[in-house]
Symmetry: C3
Subunit: 278 residues, 3 copies
């Protein structure tokens, strides 16, 4: 049985009130040797897709690890608590709502899927069996399970096998290739106001020098974006389109917010006219 | 003399400007082996009770540790700097303003109380004796003391004993049980807008199926809350009352902010009519 | 060749989206033994001076370390990627835009300056040579370089020497001493609303009991600030001037925001009339 040196941890808890720290304290109490790497606790509230995207970015960059992820609007209902073994040798722990799928895929896919049994987890962790709250499974179930797995508990001791085909999945973001243009969904607006789309620019050939950009539902008719390599290639106020560092087409301004300029937010649909506009 | 593997750290500093990191750097310089677990640095500004509540939630979940806590509006005045030994074997380090009391109680109570002597702390830590600022004792006094204690300095080498009876305490939050209803104080509004009250729902018997809710000072006459187990038991827009994961009665909405709906914030007084409303 | 136990990390990434964690995952993958100390990821967007100030505060408090700092509006352009060796034995890694200079000075000055060669860094880290994005050198270049250096790679294996005289520098903040008054720049507004100035109060003698304060460009004519030692010396609503914990003259209110009262923000110019106002 393998031990892990690293536990990553993602949630939508924020840092107020001790929710994150309650989970980390539990990790430290059960598996003191494992280092904890905080992926993000600023996931949009209850936004499973936002959490899934962030986790899938980071997980493949770590050494093999236990990945604890809790964005769990269905806590205390019938949704299943999971542990997933991946091809790379990682373990993913969290609710069965689609949160873990993209990270599992990025780690080579699910090798075996398990439904955590709360009583077994708590018993193995020497926690009171009746101590499972109905609203905070991060502290009461998922963190104990992640810690036990990191410290070498076999997953079969904590969980029942289940078919990977039965796992909940998220629908993919919208991406429609039409004659002369593409309809793509905004999958992220980052802190800098960069607008990432559900389109990989490498899949477009040839990429014209400039692209007309339209945000569906916004009155402004269309913007012109110049295709560039990086932020610094743009003049102040000039809209750019580039391949971002996660493989998405991204709309950007140099030192200003493209999202604000365009009136775009996550979930907005954007049309890119990819034939040369000149 | 005991060494500790873990130092927890709570403050109201926020992460801008390097205040947290200055303390953590000091911990790492003086006691490199100890792991630092950040409890929260988003405590409301100068809000001792908010910090005390958060620390008391997390501290009992850690392995025995040195707990460094700095919410210190009285920094540089006559308020005493403390080290408290608890029954569980933890040490709490911070200002004498009530911040440490609830955590100490959660750790079995104070076994011995000590007043830190800044000159001794700084001398033992090989810091310039005249380097104590009047506005940042986190960096200049409390972090050095916590680090020394974690690395095995006896508390008697850094501090003078004092009677535990003399420690500053916070008044308990309002809770009044009257015929047919309860007046309780809002002790927390979390990131999700859940409203936690100074009432343990387990102390109410029988709990009716629905409860009338009134926010004192708000024009809206009263809301009906259905008593449920978890968020997912509620229909969209339906107000719920549940026992939250910290032992508080909590008002909640499914995927929306109960605090916003009710116009409640920390310190608000809420009346719960606990006789069946039907 | 030296190994380091500690890597500090500062950026303007914020915690959303996994940017910070992608870098930390890379550090953990390449140099698992090194502890990571987060200095701040809340640096104002693209604000090199803000990052430089924060890093220079924290770096001298750590044990000798590799300091990774990424506030990099020029990412992907011709600006050079750096590694700097300091007199104290630290290594600073980041872009050549002035970000590292104040920390290097606080660590005894630059002993040798190096221009990182991306291909060498990525080859040594067993990363695909063609994997350098044009927009996220934190993950693709700086974090790998910092991790390799912390784990004992000689800097000469990753970089070319360059003259320290050629490094980019930031202009110092405004400070003008005129007959009877001083013009100083606001270098920080912290979470508490304290206003730190580009003036060391110890350089003023004698300091009067009260100081007239004027914010250039604000209509309000002038405020009176009482010179005090700490926040608690002030009455509610009373403006104070003190020597703050980083060696700056600071304008402050007790439990309220001086910045809001004065209408001051970072970059504002403030006149202090240092002759006694009575």
């Amino acid at each position: 049985v393998e031990r892990y040196e690293l536990i990553t941890f993602l949630s939508d808890f924020g840092w107020q009130g001790g929710y994150v720290a309650a989970c980390e304290a539990t990790l430290a109490a059960i598996c003191p040797h494992a280092r904890v790497l905080h992926v993000s606790h600023e996931v949009a509230l209850g936004d499973v897709r936002d959490g899934a995207t962030t986790l899938a970015r980071v997980a493949p960059l770590t050494p093999p690890a236990v990945h604890l992820a809790v964005v769990d609007p269905g806590v205390g209902t019938e949704r299943r608590p999971l542990a997933l073994q991946t091809d790379r040798g990682d373990l993913l722990v969290g609710p069965d709502n689609g949160l873990l799928g993209p990270a599992a895929a990025a780690l080579g896919g699910v090798v075996s899927a398990w439904r955590l049994v709360p009583e077994r987890v708590r018993l193995t962790a020497s926690l009171p069996a009746n101590g499972l709250s109905s609203t905070f499974h991060g502290r009461d179930l998922f963190a104990p399970a992640a810690a036990l797995l990191a410290c070498g508990s076999p997953v079969a001791a904590l969980a029942e096998p289940m078919p990977a085909e039965g796992l909940a999945t998220l629908p993919p973001p919208l991406l429609e290739r039409l004659p002369g243009f593409v309809r793509a969904e905004v999958v992220e607006v980052d802190r800098f106001g960069n607008v990432a789309l559900s389109l990989n620019l490498d899949s477009v050939a040839p990429v014209p020098d400039t692209v007309a950009v339209e945000v569906e539902g916004e009155p402004e008719p269309a913007w012109l974006a110049r295709v560039v390599r990086t932020f610094g290639d743009l003049k102040p106020g000039e809209l750019g389109l580039l391949q971002d560092s996660w493989g998405h087409a991204g709309l950007t301004l140099n030192a200003a917010s493209a999202a604000e300029l365009l009136g775009a937010r996550r979930g907005s649909v954007i049309r890119l006219v990819l034939t040369s506009a000149t």
